[in-house]
């Protein structure tokens, strides 16, 4: 079982190139991919800006430009859309709040309005809908809880019921799905564990059983998959790893092999990180790759909070001030 990591030259994180890739990505709008991603520009902005902050380069974007665009996405209801002229949804509302948190600009928000929008989406059984159209998913529970916690408004919802609902989505394998009885999925597990962590309810998790499921996600190449029998993908470096950290079982996987896998997914020439080695890069995987390296304490990358998905200094600034 001796690791062979000493026998090959470990690649390096080409941080400068990733920064340039992110700054350029915003300007390239002529590919089909960028046209069909237009509706979730708010998520894209969060992924890009958080990556820049983790690499200590947030200063290279114009705060005013981002914030003034961001505020055009807010609706009367208080919720945010993925882009100007689109409908609001909690998915984009959390990203908007996270971006403002990065820039230390939360004070420009009408906190009462945003938190009422989010709290208004809680259902009788404790679950959350994503918007007025009623689809329920534990992802939305996480978003609501994370968002309200950043805004210090958790008292606006019934936390106990919210927790009970999440616990009802636990499976016999220790994982969680999007609703009760749905298949365990690493992304959903992150959401459920994250929500339980923020609300101080991790005692509901069978940490050994869930840790078992999560560490079985590591495949031979060192990468992590999101479900059994799937290929590894850089984005699960974030979802699986952050969950393992929150339940204190991260030593159950081979971290050195995972670092190598993420580094192998870089485009060394033009920057950006892809899902698997030699695939096309995108902003989503660039964020999750860098965030994964941050959790793995890679040198030169700022520490990220595994539950809030924001740099630790940002979260400290928010939570430690009244």
């Amino acid at each position: 079982m001796s690791s062979s990591s000493s026998s090959f030259q470990m690649g390096q994180l080409v941080a400068d190139k990733h920064v340039r890739y992110i700054l350029m990505a915003e300007k390239k709008k002529e590919s089909f991919e960028s046209v069909v991603m237009d509706h979730l520009r708010m998520n894209g902005a969060y992924w890009g800006l958080t990556t820049l902050d983790l690499l200590d380069k947030l200063g290279s974007v114009s705060v005013d430009e981002v914030v003034s665009w961001l505020m055009t996405c807010q609706h009367e209801s208080g919720g945010f859309a993925g882009n100007t002229g689109h409908d609001p949804h909690v998915l984009y509302t959390l990203s908007a709040v996270q971006i403002l948190a990065l820039f230390d600009k939360l004070d420009i928000l009408d906190v009462g309005k945003v938190s009422s929008y989010v709290a208004g989406l809680q259902n009788e059984d404790g679950s959350f809908s994503g918007d007025i159209w009623g689809e329920v998913d534990t992802r939305f529970s996480y978003i609501a809880i994370c968002c309200l916690s950043i805004l210090k408004c958790l008292d606006k919802i019934n936390v106990e019921k919210a927790v009970d609902y999440i616990v009802s989505c636990k499976n016999l394998d220790g994982g969680f799905g999007c609703t009760p009885g749905a298949e365990s999925h690493a992304g959903q597990i992150f959401c459920c564990v994250g929500a339980l962590a923020i609300t101080g309810s991790l005692h509901h998790v069978d940490k050994d059983l869930l840790g078992w499921w999560l560490c079985e996600r590591q495949v031979k190449s060192g990468g992590l998959n999101g479900r059994p029998e799937k290929l590894p993908d850089v984005c699960y470096s974030w979802w699986v790893l952050s969950s393992l950290i929150m339940i204190d079982r991260v030593h159950w996987i081979d971290k050195a092999k995972l670092v190598k896998f993420i580094l192998d997914c870089q485009d060394l020439e033009n920057g950006g990180i892809s899902d698997r080695p030699d695939d096309a890069v995108d902003i989503f995987h660039t964020y999750f790759g860098v965030a994964g390296l941050s959790l793995l304490e890679y040198p030169g990358v700022k520490a990220i909070d595994p539950a809030y998905a924001l740099p630790v200094d940002v979260i400290n600034r928010i939570l430690l001030t009244k």
Partner: protein, 423 residues
């Protein structure tokens, strides 16, 4: 003129063409993006030689191909047309609701604006299926019209979108919204459930381990009668046997089986239910064993076995509805079960040539399976020690150690602690 841009007029013309194609053939059941060079090949295959062949759209036998050369322009113009129509529609709606509050009937209905929004959102969603605002606009209009025909047609559109974007979450979510609307106002969803189940299976055929598709099928389970649950178990068995790596399909079976178990967890459940459930578990365990032996090293099959064995021990081996494995009473039935599992474990660990990855994977999955069961039911450990013997147990643990050392260390710690406590 380059591929990236075309004049506004040309772009609108393109959108008109696209919408015309959709309108003139309401039976289109499949859409795809294809390279223009394929148009002539497809024409030859279809044996057609249309006089004025379009270079943008190919439509034969209700299969629609859209040229990849025009995708960007078409998508941009569809988005623009939709957002403009939606703005106009909302402005009109707001204006007429103001009239109504002033008790003056506006007298203006907006069927034209509605149909504009519907037309452009349809075009847009066939190109960009995750465009949530377009689905929402359709929900708004459909719920106002509240016509059964409208909802059935909407099922058809979302099916068409899924033919090209089978993983699109907003499309699946929209489908669930339609089904809820239909079952609220018009009919019980029993008939829809069967059709939906078939849809997921056919999509599962083209798109392996599609979480969103299989989640949709799991979502249907809560709407099923117990008869339908049993039928579904039977129906999806063949498919599962042919797709042994599709863990999502096996999860669907677990969801169905847990539904069968539900009435048994209630006190005073009747014996017939119990016999039926008992039979289902026995059959599934036997069938799973056949598959495990036939298809070596398949993670999905071994994970399914973890579930089957754990629930078998929890609910059937003389143990009444114990929610956790903690209070399981060891008895003769469990002894026989464990004997059989040990036999399977041993046969999975003897292979002719360890150079083959499949054999190695099989040995690992079998060993981890056994260890996982003891993690859930610690009483099994002593049984395993007794029946397997120290040497063979060591061999099992070594196999785990090679691939997942942390699991083993952790498990040994627990047993050591337990052993100390017992002493």
């Amino acid at each position: 003129m380059g591929q990236e841009s075309c004049s506004q007029e040309d772009c609108f013309d393109l959108l008109n063409q696209f919408e015309h194609v959709l309108e003139s053939d309401p039976l289109i059941d499949e859409v795809g993006f294809i390279h223009p060079s394929l148009f002539t090949i497809l024409d030859k295959e279809a044996g057609s030689s249309s006089e004025e062949a379009s270079t943008s759209f190919w439509n034969q036998d209700h299969k629609l191909g859209i040229s990849t050369d025009i995708l960007i322009q078409l998508c941009k113009v569809a988005k623009h047309a939709f957002l403009t129509a939606l703005k106009e529609y909302k402005r009109h709606e707001n204006a007429s609701s103001e009239f109504l509050t002033e008790n003056i009937s506006s007298g203006v209905s907006c069927p034209t604006l509605e149909s504009k929004v519907m037309k452009h959102s349809q075009a847009l969603l066939l190109l960009s299926s995750d465009f949530g605002t377009a689905w929402n606009a359709r929900k708004l209009i459909l719920s106002k019209q509240n016509q059964p025909y409208g909802f059935t047609e909407e099922l058809r559109l979302s099916r068409l979108v899924l033919s090209n974007f089978s993983k699109s979450e907003p499309t699946w979510s929209h489908r669930r919204w339609i089904i809820k609307m239909i079952s609220q106002s018009f009919s019980t969803p029993q008939e829809i459930i069967t059709k939906e189940s078939e849809l997921v299976e056919s999509i599962g055929e083209r798109s392996k381990m599609n979480y969103r598709a299989w989640y949709h099928r799991c979502w249907l389970v809560s709407y099923m009668t117990i008869e339908q649950v049993l039928q579904e178990l039977n129906k999806c068995k063949r498919w599962a046997g042919l797709h042994v790596a599709d863990s999502s399909c096996f999860h669907y079976r677990r969801r169905l089986m847990l539904r069968v178990l539900e009435p048994l967890k209630v006190k005073g459940s009747n014996d017939n239910d119990k016999t039926e459930a008992h039979k289902i578990w026995m059959e599934e365990l036997d069938w799973n064993k056949e598959l495990v032996i036939r298809y070596l090293g398949r993670e999905a099959l071994w994970l399914h076995r973890r579930f089957l064995s754990l629930t078998w021990l929890m609910y059937f081996c003389g143990n009444q509805s114990s929610e956790t494995g903690e209070c399981i009473v060891m008895n003769e039935e469990i002894g026989i079960f464990v004997d059989n599992e040990i036999y399977l474990l041993q046969s999975s660990m003897t292979f002719p040539d360890n150079k083959f990855e499949d054999f190695q994977a099989q040995a690992l999955h079998a060993s981890v399976y056994m260890l996982w069961l003891t993690k859930n039911i610690p009483e099994l450990w002593r049984m395993l020690e007794e029946k397997l013997g120290t040497e063979k147990l060591k061999c099992v643990l070594n196999t785990v150690d090679q691939e997942r050392p942390s699991l083993l260390l952790h498990q040994i710690d627990i047993f050591a602690a337990k052993h100390n406590n017992d002493c």
